[in-house]
Structures are given as structure tokens and as C-alpha cells.
């Protein structure tokens, strides 16, 4: 899902950069206030985990590949703000050092995978589950959160691709950036992720949630007891 340089017009990537930076600023404040020191090594591992997961390109009939992100489970365990920072770090390193994802597109990629996705996943999980829920229900909520947040993020990405021919073309109709429009971009991205990567993301989310439920249930951000300060 990493958008390379040249696929998005400035009128697309500049606002997305703006959104990303603003959210990051808030995230830093929130994480400073809400996240404890003992979580730091876990956050490091979470970022590295996301990095690895995103390298995990799987094939799709037709010869293309895509990937899961890990944002969902990171958001559930560490909260969406911390997840935002962790996944952004992975994405930034991928773009700068490995050329995986463009530099102009960095704001867009971070928005899609480190802002939109973790918050969507967190919201869905909270909608479907709570502290008193049993294992089965939590697992179900985790799977759906992972699955839906990835699919929706893929569609948002496809939307960013697909509007390019509409908003940035030369007078003779040639696209300046991504040449595929919405009718091609959305189905391609959506199907890829609905049929395969969404399931991968859902499964990863469920498995890791269960691991944390068993070993460190108090750590899980999404299941914290509400205090007056929340």
C-alpha cells in the first residue's frame, strides 16, 4: 500500500502532510501524558514489528502484491496515539532508507496507515468489545477491527490514487500523476485487501491480542479501567 513518489499531485500530498504533522504533534502530547515508561521497549518492538509485517508482501492472482500493516493490534494494545507514532517511524524509515514509499507521499502513507488505520481499528474494537467481554468476543472484535481498518485504509489509499486523473491532467487528457482513475483503483485495492490482506491483518490482531490477554492484560490500552482523568 506504500504510495511512491510521483503518483500524487501536490494538491493531494501537501494537505495530507499537513494532517499528518498536526496529528503527530497531538500524538506526542497524548503519549507523553498517558503512556508509561515501562511500555517503551514494547513500543520499539511494535514499530519494528510493523516494519517487518509491511515487508511481508503476499502474491495475488494477477501478479501483484500487497501487505498487512499491524496498525490495528498496535492501536488496541498501546492506544491509537502511540500506534500512530510507532507505525510512522516504520514508514519513515522504509521511505528514507529503503525507498519503500515516496518522500512526497510520506504524509499520505503515514496518514493512511498510521493515522486512519489505527484510529479506525481502535474505534471498531471499542465498539464491539469492552473490559467485561469474554475471550471469544474480544477475539472477534480484534479480527473485525484488523480486517475492516486495513480494507478501509486500502480504499482511502485507492481514493487518493484514483482522483489524480480527475484533479491533475493536461489539456489533452493525459494524467500528470497516477493514471488510473477511481473505477480501476478502488476495486483493485479493495479486492486485494478484502480477500487476503485484511484476513491476515485480522488474524494477526486476534493472535497477538490473545497473547497479551494471557501474559499482560493490564497493559492493554483498549481495556483499561476508566478513571476520572480519561
Amino acid at each position: 500500500m506504500h504510495i511512491p513518489d510521483g503518483y500524487l499531485s501536490p494538491q493531494t500530498y501537501i494537505p495530507l502532510f499537513g494532517v499528518f504533522v498536526s496529528v503527530a504533534a497531538v500524538a506526542v502530547r497524548k503519549v507523553k501524558k498517558e503512556v508509561s515508561v515501562r511500555v517503551i521497549p514494547y513500543l520499539g518492538m511494535a514499530a519494528a514489528f510493523s516494519f517487518i509485517i509491511m515487508m511481508f508482501n503476499l502474491p495475488i492472482p494477477g501478479g501483484t502484491t500487497g501487505h498487512a500493516v499491524g496498525s490495528a493490534i498496535i492501536a488496541i494494545i498501546f492506544g491509537p496515539w502511540a500506534a500512530m507514532l510507532a507505525v510512522s517511524v516504520a514508514l519513515i524509515i522504509q521511505a528514507l532508507i529503503f525507498g519503500d514509499g515516496g518522500i512526497t507521499a510520506l504524509g499520505a502513507n503515514c496518514f493512511n496507515m498510521a493515522v486512519f488505520m489505527p484510529f479506525t481499528a481502535y474505534f471498531i474494537f471499542k465498539l464491539l468489545s469492552n473490559q467485561t467481554a469474554g475471550r471469544a468476543r474480544m477475539s472477534f472484535a480484534a479480527f473485525i477491527a484488523g480486517y475492516l481498518s486495513l480494507v478501509l485504509a486500502a480504499i482511502v489509499t485507492a481514493f487518493e490514487f484514483g482522483i489524480q486523473p480527475l484533479i491533475a491532467s493536461t489539456s489533452d487528457g493525459r494524467a500528470l500523476y497516477c493514471p488510473y482513475d477511481l473505477s480501476i483503483a478502488v476495486p483493485a485495492m479493495a479486492l486485494e485487501h478484502m480477500l487476503l490482506f485484511g484476513i491476515v491483518e485480522g488474524i494477526i490482531t486476534t493472535i497477538i491480542l490473545n497473547y497479551f490477554l494471557k501474559t499482560e492484560p493490564d497493559l492493554i490500552y483498549a481495556l483499561r479501567k476508566k478513571t476520572k482523568n480519561d
Binding site: M1, H2, P4, D5, G6, Y7, S9, V28, V31, K33, V35, S36, V37, R38, V39, I40, P41, L43, G44, M45, A46, A47, A48, F49, S50, F51, I52, I53, M55, F56, N57, L58, P59, T64, T65, G66, L85, V89, A90, I93, Q94, L96, I97, F98, G99, D100, G102, I103, T104, F161, A168, R174, L176, Y177, C178, P179, Y180, A185, M189, E192
Partner: protein
Amino acid sequence: MLCLITPAGIILPAFFNSGDAWGEWSAQTLKELVGYVPKGLEKYSHIWKAPIPVYSINGIDKTITHRSGYYLVSGIFGATITYIVMLIISKLIIRNGK
């Protein structure tokens, strides 16, 4: 725990890497697909030369086993850097001793 997933996550992609992901085509591939290279795309695709493009440390050595090896090494290297950077950033942000 996460270290267990890592090796699998790196070895498998190397074998499964079939073509570029949708939307991540190079300018050259795009030319073949659509018949032209969109002007803006052409301009921006040279904006950044990453040190380790496409996770291939050695661009010349193209055999499958070697490419998988490089992919693996890049993966470990990248994951480690990500871990360290995240650690540093987190330490700078989080000060409370809850």
C-alpha cells in the same frame, strides 16, 4: 515473541515477490502498462535516491537465493533501526514513571 514472526516474514516475501504491488510501479513499468509516463510522475520519481532501494543491498547479484538473502539482511537491519529509533523517540517523549 515478535522475533519468531520476523524470520518467516522476511523469507517468505522473497520467494513470493511476483511483480510490483499495485500502485508501486516504477516509471518504466508504468510506461509499458499505460503507454506513457505521466509528466508529474516522471518529475517526482527522481526526487529521492534511497540508500537501499527495494530492500536489495546488492543490485547486481540477482540470483533468487542471493536476493532472498539480501532481503533478509535488509529486513533485520531495517527492523533493528526501526526499533532503536522508536526507542529513542519514546524515551524523549515519555518521562513519567507510572
